[in-house]
Symmetry: C2
Subunit: 336 residues, 2 copies
């Protein structure tokens, strides 16, 4: 039996234990220092505290001070931290992982540098650690639904196809469908972009509520108009940022699931109703949405590069995130 | 004031009267011989019988035996028939329209020929009439929501960009956003494909109901997986059939609105629950869905060309439409 260690017991890291166990693997789930309550709760109840789903029989739970034990004999490590935990992982966890063990990251987003360069997490880890065996997961998959064993299609990406195949063998099930790609930039850019564009599409949900009241019948023409424009801009951005345009498959799927299955929808809807960013965040009770951080990074990078105006919908989202109140620039989307 | 005659008083044809009037045009709405009840009802109540929406002040209503009067001085004719009315339009209406008047068609779908060739309606009309000024509308726009003046993004396509610009001037409003394209095949193939793929994506809605009961919480990972695969296959099909791949913008938007705003969803959901085509049609009380006819044509054409197996999701839809009961072939969608 192969052994998989997951570091980070947030929702997505923990949800990965489910296909791993269903695939017959030995799973060690290790909390970060922020996850102590999750690990204690899981040990007691075998359910996940925040995801509120049962975790499979046979998953062993570890606090971070037991990480050395948990990592012994691991054939692969899944990095389950959010984008806020990337540097922690790099400094505290990575040095403990033997260099030959591949690392598969669930973290979504890109690093943005001051000069407007964007960098994937596998590239960032590689640059700072000198190791090369970093892999990442993209594609439309919410943790809740993975935990419910819903059919989910994802992409594993990284530099070495043979390792990717091994990772698929370790984690694939009859509901967790894994495509493989060596186009890390393409997969990761698609993942990062969907955060900004899910905000954009859900503006139309709020707009209808602003026009006709909160109990208005949902309208899909406006959402579809913004969805189409999102696909247009995402495809162009993929090419601009060096990824293959065919990754729009993951981007469009991920956009779809984020519009319907994610928390980003709430923020987009509130902004679409005409609330300012500050008012919207107040209603969301100050939750720091990872999607907003990622969207801001994308906007800022393109602004620095002088290329933001080519993407009028993304530019609009950036202005809303900056606190401006503006109507959707519909006329900017028609061609020619 | 420019005059627009609409022939065909179905829902989409009639809905076009709304941006036309808001744009300040004179509008003559002419029923086909099947539309007499709609025209009588509109004259009496100024609302549309089946769409159940008010029609704008100033629209003049005509039965088909008054078509010559209605067409006098028209600057453009909108062909508002469904795909079932195309040959009727060609034989009964077209000869009455002066050859210099451009015709803008709302009809969705493609003609399929026995050799597997597919033909757009503008090309079909042109071939059979020898006239060249046919234009068509694609993109995500349901008639109900257009009638409600929801923001809607469409594409007008045809051979002459100058005429397309004129049509946009005649019909564009601050909610009806018109892009222009001379890639008729690309726009029309995207429109036709979304019918088949909207069926495909909504199979996942029914699948979750089959697994967890009719009151199951909707799951979006499976829909997103099929949405991503749909985008992949539609992009490849656009290229195979001679349209530009950038038309996936209209295809993806149209797919989105059809999944949520159309009747096709009901059929896809029933098939996804495991009903046979015959059982599903019985539940739908025998309504002939245009989307099914269009989907069958696409499947049949690709089968004749020996290319259907390259598109496993479309092939699956074809098998369900043929009455087979089969599980979704998830494994066929992973790459490589």
């Amino acid at each position: 039996m192969k052994r998989i260690a997951i570091i980070g017991a947030g929702m997505m890291g923990s949800a990965m234990s489910i296909p791993a166990r269903d695939n017959g693997r030995e799973v060690h789930l290790v909390g970060t220092p922020l996850d102590d309550a999750i690990i204690a709760h899981a040990r007691e109840t075998h359910t996940h505290l925040t995801m509120q789903r049962p975790l499979p029989e046979g998953v062993a739970f570890y606090c971070f001070d037991e990480v050395r034990t948990a990592l012994m004999g691991a054939d692969v490590v899944i990095c389950g931290v959010s984008s806020f935990g990337v540097d922690w992982f790099l400094q505290e966890a990575l040095p403990l992982i033997p260099p030959e063990v591949p690392i598969l990251s669930v973290t979504k987003g890109l690093m943005a540098h001051e000069d407007g360069a964007l960098e994937t997490y596998p590239a960032y880890y590689q640059r700072l650690s000198g190791r090369s065996n970093f892999y990442a997961i993209g594609g439309p998959c919410t943790s809740y639904e993975l935990a419910d064993r819903r059919h989910s299609a994802v992409a594993f990406c990284g530099g070495d196809m043979q390792t990717l195949r091994k990772l698929r063998t370790l984690l694939g099930t009859d509901y967790y469908h894994i495509s493989l790609s060596t186009d890390v930039v393409g997969v990761e850019v698609a993942v990062a972009l969907k955060n900004a564009y899910a905000l954009a599409v859900t503006l139309a949900v709020g707009l209808v509520q602003r026009q006709d009241g909160l109990d208005a019948t949902p309208a899909y023409n406006p959402q579809a108009a913004l969805f189409g424009q999102s696909v247009r801009e995402m495809t162009a951005l993929l090419q601009l940022l060096g990824g293959g345009p065919e990754n729009i498959v993951y981007g469009a799927g991920d956009l779809y699931v984020t519009i319907f299955g994610g928390r980003t929808r709430k923020l987009g809807t509130l902004l679409g109703r005409g609330l300012t960013m500050a008012q919207a965040l107040q209603q969301l009770e100050g939750v720091t949405l990872e999607s907003v951080v990622i969207a801001r990074r994308m906007v800022q990078a393109l602004r620095t590069r002088g290329q933001l105006a080519q993407f009028p919908l993304l530019q609009h989202v950036g202005r809303l995130l900056d606190g401006e109140q503006r109507d959707i620039p519909w006329a900017a989307f028609t061609t020619p």
